[in-house]
Symmetry: C2
Subunit: 184 residues, 2 copies
């Protein structure tokens, strides 16, 4: 499989960015190549295109499946497994958001909950405690908010995002109406 210069640039860039996005170079390249390809790709093709070993392809594909970004596609009459992106770009973005929440926020939230729980029993209140509480509350807010957004349908979320800071206006609106006692 020959990559066009643009595809090549795209794949290499994803490799370089990989580590910033929470995976390694190979995983980034695999993802780029699978996302950009119209047809599902098998291990042999990925191996050749990226000049990496069979084992590395296997591990990378496993990792991408754990992120729920690719899926195996079985073609009858062919023993090979082929892999394709799990859906459109929007869906993949949502999956990345969700997985990163699980990996980057949830563990810390869990630790802070534990630390704050036991210290509450101890009745000792100091500066550090207060800070931990603040961090806990912010992370909880962010985690819940991102779950909430994930439940919103694509169109609505897109509208919301396009609205940008304009959402401030809409909120004032809501407040004004609520004050008039018109809660819904």
């Amino acid at each position: 499989m020959k990559m066009s210069p643009d595809t090549q640039a795209f794949v290499m860039h994803f490799g370089e960015m990989g580590s910033r996005w929470g995976f390694n170079r190979t995983v980034g390249q695999l993802l780029a190549l699978i996302v950009i390809s119209e047809n599902p790709l098998c291990a042999d093709e990925l191996m050749a295109a990226l000049s990496i070993s069979r084992g590395n392809v296997s591990m990378g594909l496993k990792e991408l499946q754990s992120w729920r970004l690719i899926k195996p596609v079985h073609t009858p009459g062919d023993r090979k497994e082929y892999y394709a992106a799990v859906g459109d770009i929007w869906t993949m973005g949502m999956r990345v958001l969700e997985e990163r929440r699980k990996r980057e926020i949830d563990p810390t939230l869990s630790l802070l909950r534990d630390l704050l729980m036991e210290s509450e029993a101890n009745e000792q209140s100091n500066y550090a405690q207060g800070r931990m509480q603040e961090i806990h509350d912010l992370l909880e807010l962010v985690a819940n908010w991102s779950s909430d957004l994930q439940r919103l349908n694509h169109d609505k979320l897109q509208t919301l995002m396009k609205l940008g800071a304009g959402v401030g206006k809409v909120l004032e609106f809501k407040d004004r109406l609520l004050k008039k006692g018109d809660g819904d």
Copy 2:
């Protein structure tokens, strides 16, 4: 400086999470310790508390300053530099969001813009191009949205986040009113 068991646990956890958050173990630990401390800390104290070398402290502090998460605090009559968190937790969260956007989204956005620009000239339109365009559009939307949110004041943003999926309702509201020709 002796750390309480809770502080110890907190600092160690930030060390472990560090790499998932875009920096390394030492930087995570330094951040945790500085954030949790009521008073600014100097290199000697950090060195002793974390059992790391002077050079490592220096590099870690530089990194945290590049993230705009800590600031040097100069005490008259003392040659040492002391370091403190740059503000409250909310402010720090915003800074992390902003820096991560710069490091994780902007470079890809820039590459995609270039690739799409030149390919537009070439007039060749294929599947890969379309995908790149989709990724570009999503990243642009996210980048602009996060800039927008950053400009919102704390209270408003907090209200918005607490509203969570309920924001959907508010949007419908807006739509209904706009349809009636009541644009503001």
